[in-house]
Structure formats: C-alpha cells, structure tokens
C-alpha cells in the first residue's frame, strides 16, 4: 500500500568551512516515518532549535536533497529539479511558514500570491474563475476576499496574515501541508483559532498536515501522531497523547516536564526563609 509520504533512513549532512578545514554537521540522522494515504492525519514533529526539524521539512518540500535515504510522495521520489513533475508535486504539497509577515513580500500586495496559485496550480483561468477559487479558500479560513483584496502585509495582523497564508496553501487543494512553527509568532490569544483550523482542514478537507513545533501544548491538542527529535535523530514516536502523557525516553520526559503552562503556578515561588545569604563585599 503506498503511503502518502514515506521517509526511509533520511539523513542530511552539511559541510561548513573551506576545502582544507571543514566541519561536518549531521543535521538529520536516519529519520524514517510514513503518513498513511487512506486517512488524513496531523503528524507533529517536535524538537528544539537545532533538532533538524526545518531541514527535514525542506527535504519533504523538495527544496533540498537528502545526503542519504529516500523520500517518496504518493509512491514517487520527491522531485527537486524544476519541471512538470515538480509543478505537479507543488500543487499537492504546500508549505506554511513561521513568520506570517515574511511569508509575503512586504512591498507587494498579498492577493497576488493568492491569484497566482489559483491560476498556476488551481486550474483556474484568469478573472472570475480565479476570484471564485481564492474566495472559496479564504472562506475556509474565515476571511473574505473583499477584506484582503489590494492589501499589503503590514495592514493585517499576524493572525490574519497566517490565515491568508493557509488560504493560499489551500487554493491548489493539496494533499499534504507542511507547517513549520505556524503559530509560534502569532499572539497567544489568536493561536487556538489557527490550531483549530488545522483540525478542521484534516477533518473536513481530508488534508494531512505535518505540524512542526516546539510547543508541546498545541501539539497535544490536535496531533494524531508525533515524532520527537533531538540533535537530528528521532528519540520517540507514536500516538500523540500516549507519548505526551507517558513519555519513555529521558529527553522526552525532560521536555514534557519542562513545559510551563498555567498549571505550573508557583513552581518557582519565593521561599520565605529568615536566613538570606549575603555576600560580604564592598559595593561602591
């Protein structure tokens, strides 16, 4: 049975430095996982900065070739060179980036990207058909074309911009969305509406989502399965709630214990002691 996405022992090594003195950095080490084709799911990739999540996402998007291992989308190797195969791939696999203000060109209107995606990947001709496709996608994320038309990025909030980015990704009716820290730069009060939107995309539009994050709390809320990475390697994987409720690997445990939520009230509370250590030192 073909998987939607299959990674097999994927590794990525970077060489830093010149010809004579170089450094090998293993950004990704032997990562393997697969997303099922017959059901849509949210698959979380969890790890801190430097864990290799972004490198992995770039390989899944075909923006970078792996040093070793294979990546297959719908049974075929992920195309990296420009051409018809790559265009077909890009229509089915779309990205969402961390910084909503950088996802669009600050000097240009944002609807341009929306209409272009509709024309190039959405099969819509110009004019009315493109308008329709864009409006439908915006509606899914809770926005209207009238609100977005002719706007520049700085005229919208981070939450709104991220929704527009999601709408753009939806225009081509993708099978897989790769979201790299999609809510970490969005205000906490607006975060859940976007996270809930992802859940709706999975349930209503049957789109699978690779949700890359370091925020365990949101991952717990919507992901079905997850993968925890440390220094490029997978340390634990499995059902989201099972892993986060009872993590087995020491790193996963440390990660879970380190998360501070509203339940952490008083963790570092002041201890009212009578003897306080003071340094015997002259302060000018």
């Amino acid at each position: 049975m073909t998987a939607l996405l299959r990674l097999d022992n994927v590794s990525q090594t970077f060489n830093r430095g010149g010809l004579l003195s170089g450094q090998r950095i293993d950004a990704v080490k032997n990562v393997s996982f697969a997303l099922a084709e017959d059901r849509s799911e949210i698959f979380a990739l969890i790890g801190e900065s430097g864990a290799g999540k972004t490198t992995l996402s770039r390989m899944v998007l075909g923006m970078q070739r792996p040093s070793s291992g294979t990546l297959e989308f719908e049974g075929r190797a992920i195309p990296t060179a420009p051409g018809a195969a790559r265009r077909n791939f890009m229509a089915k696999v779309q990205p969402i980036f961390q910084n909503p203000f950088e996802a669009f060109n600050p000097l240009k209107k944002i609807d341009r990207f929306l209409f272009l995606t509709a024309q190039r990947f959405g099969g819509a001709a110009r004019g009315a058909a493109a308008d329709l496709a864009v409006d439908a996608a915006l509606e899914r994320v809770g926005l209207l074309l009238a609100e977005i038309r002719g706007r520049f990025p700085h005229e919208l909030s981070g939450g709104q911009l991220q929704r527009v980015a999601i709408a753009r990704a939806l225009v081509s009716k993708p099978h897989l969305i790769v979201a790299d820290e999609p809510v970490s730069m969005v205000d906490a009060s607006l975060r859940m509406s976007i996270v809930n939107l992802f859940a709706r995309l999975r349930d209503e539009m049957r789109i699978s989502i690779i949700y890359i994050t370091h925020d365990l709390a949101t991952a717990y809320t919507i992901s079905d399965r997850l993968l925890i990475m440390q220094n490029g390697a997978v340390v634990e994987a499995g059902d989201a709630r099972a892993v986060l409720s009872a993590p087995k690997h020491p790193y996963s445990r440390a990660l879970r214990d380190a998360v501070l939520t509203l339940d952490s009230i008083g963790l570092f509370a002041a201890k009212r002691t009578s003897n306080r250590v003071t340094e015997d030192r002259d302060v000018k």
Binding site: S157, S189, N196, T221, A254, A258, L260, L267
Partner: protein
C-alpha cells in the same frame, strides 16, 4: 514591610514620527500606574501592541526619538527626586546603572561584546562597582558564576563559543553580580529551549532571593508568569487592565481579556476545545475610543465605547480596569 522600589505614575510614552510630511502618533504607553515592591518578582504580560516593551524602555530610561516621554513618572526608591531615568543627568544614571539597577535583555548578544572574552566584559561592567584587588574581583566573579552553574572555563571564552543558554546565564550573572536593588528582565528566556528555560528561570528566582532584589519580568508567556512571578500585571492597548498576585489572577481573572486569554491557552492533558479571541490586536496609532478592548469584548456595554475605565481595586490586592466590575473591594 513592602515599600515600593519602583513607582510608576500615569506614564505616557508615544512614538511621534514626522516622515515626509505625515505626522503619526502611536500611543504605545497610555497612562500606566503601578508599583513594584521590595523583594518581589513582578510580571508584566501582554501580546503584540500591548505596549509592554515600550513601557520597560521608558522605565529603564532608554527613550530615543521617535519615542518620547509625554507625561508621568517612574521613580526608583534609590533615586529620590528623579522623575524618570530618561530625564536624569548622565552622571546620576551612570552611578546607579549596574550597581542598583540592571537589565537582562532578550538577546544576550546585545550585552556581550562578541570581540571580547567574558572575563573582559565582567571587567568592563563590574570592576568599577566592586572594591578590592584584581584577584579579589576574580574570586568574586567566579563565585557568582558558580551560582548560575558556570565554571571558570567560561571566563576565557568568547561569546560565540558558548551555547545560547550559557550566554544567557552569563548575562544574568553580569546583571546580578553587583547586588542590584532592581532588575529589569525583558523576555530573557524567550529564545531559549524549553529545558534550558526552566533552569534559567530557577536561577533567576534563586538569585533574586539571595540578593533580595526586585525584578520586573516581562514576557508574553503566561506559563512562565505562572511559574515565576509573585504578582502579575496584564497589559492591553498601552494600558494596564488587570493586576493581582499571580496565583489569584490566574485562578480568578476578572477582566474579560484576561479571562479569554486564559481560556484560550492549551494545556497538556486535556483536549478540551479552546477558542481564540475574535478580532485582532489594537491599532495604537488609531486607538478605539473608551475602553481599548471593547471592539472584541463579549460583554461590552455602551459606556465602554466612550469612557475608558480606570484601574480600580477589586478584591484583595487586585485591580481591574473594567466597567463591568464594580468599584471598591
């Protein structure tokens, strides 16, 4: 005996720009009054457009055009007679900087000179404030570094040779070595890994207890506030909308914004559906009339559209700025 180390009175700081004939006034801090008491960690929370970063800059005296201090005061107990650091003379500021008042900023690289070893940076910052010979100074530095669990090898290193977490610990050590009375910490752990963050927060509390200083801790992360701070102030649209001891505020929020904010934060262990707030952050260049939150408030009344509510007491050491909350304890 809780005397205030910092007293902020009706502080207003606006960004005023005049770019190619277009005048703009962004009311980043619009009338904030609060105090930070001795020996406590006071948390300041808020999202984008809340004004918390500008407030901290104004208190710290880092006011450069186009930012202007328009009104109000931010008095420190160790600088009687000085209205704000921004208007004080450079000598006065120099005398207190680092010895009575220090900062821990978000980017450690804004404090650590990438071209100098850590030892030299300690020398630059703290040598003037600590009496004794060079050897005694080095002993003092080493013992202080031990408190943030760094050893002597750090002194000879350059900043880029240390990890982000180690750098931030160096920054904290720098800020606390002269036993300051007041420490301003602006998102000091935001860029750090979750595991390192937990360590660093513990160190901040430990040092605060040992020295007995007051800390103004600014971050958008309510989880960090829950864990660390003694009292918490919530900012929205350039104003303080609620303030109370942290546990009390998080368990019984009284302002609609705080209530919704807390309700919308996900937690591990429950998949209960949470919703985000409707609408978007306020536009400080063209603020709403009356209460800044009323466009998004589920219980907005007519008065909210025209009259801005004052921050009034409502319960034990609890202040709320909302017309729906009755005045008085």
């Amino acid at each position: 005996m809780n005397t205030a180390v910092l007293q902020v009175e009706d502080l207003r700081a606006y960004f005023r720009t005049r770019y190619f004939g277009v005048k703009r006034e962004v009311r980043a801090v619009d009338g904030v009054t609060f105090e930070v008491r001795a020996d406590e960690i006071y948390g300041l929370a808020g999202e984008s457009s809340s004004g918390k970063t500008t407030l901290v800059k104004a208190i710290a005296g880092l006011v450069k055009p186009p930012l202007q201090l328009v009104d109000g005061a931010a008095r420190f107990s160790f600088l009687p007679g000085v209205r704000t650091l921004a208007t004080a003379s450079p000598d006065v500021v120099r005398a207190v900087r680092w010895s009575r008042l220090s900062y821990i900023m978000q980017g450690s690289m804004s404090v650590l000179n990438p071209l100098r070893r850590i030892r030299s940076t300690f020398d630059d910052f703290a040598r003037d404030h600590i009496a004794g010979s060079a050897a005694e100074f080095e002993r003092a530095v080493l013992s202080h570094l031990g408190k943030v669990r760094l050893d002597s090898s750090v002194l000879d290193a350059y900043p880029h040779e240390l990890s982000g977490g180690m750098r931030q610990r160096v920054t904290i050590a720098l800020a606390t070595i002269c036993n300051p009375q007041f420490v301003i910490a602006d998102e000091p752990t935001t860029a750090l890994d979750v595991i390192v963050q937990r360590e660093v927060l513990g160190m901040i509390r430990q040092l605060q207890q040992e020295i007995g200083s007051s800390v103004l801790f600014v971050t958008h992360d309510l989880g960090v506030h829950a864990a660390l701070t003694d009292r918490l102030g919530i900012m929205y649209g350039g104003r303080l909308v609620e303030e109370a001891p942290t546990a009390q505020l998080l368990r019984e929020p009284r302002h609609p914004y705080t209530r919704h904010l807390i309700a919308s934060l996900p937690r591990i262990g429950t998949q209960e559906r949470r919703d985000g707030l409707p609408g978007g952050p306020p536009n400080l260049a063209d603020p709403a009339t009356g209460c800044r939150f009323h466009p998004r408030c589920p219980i907005a009344m007519d008065v909210c559209r025209t009259v801005a509510p004052d921050l009034r007491p409502s319960g034990d050491d609890h202040r709320v700025a909302c017309h729906a909350e009755g005045a008085g304890p």
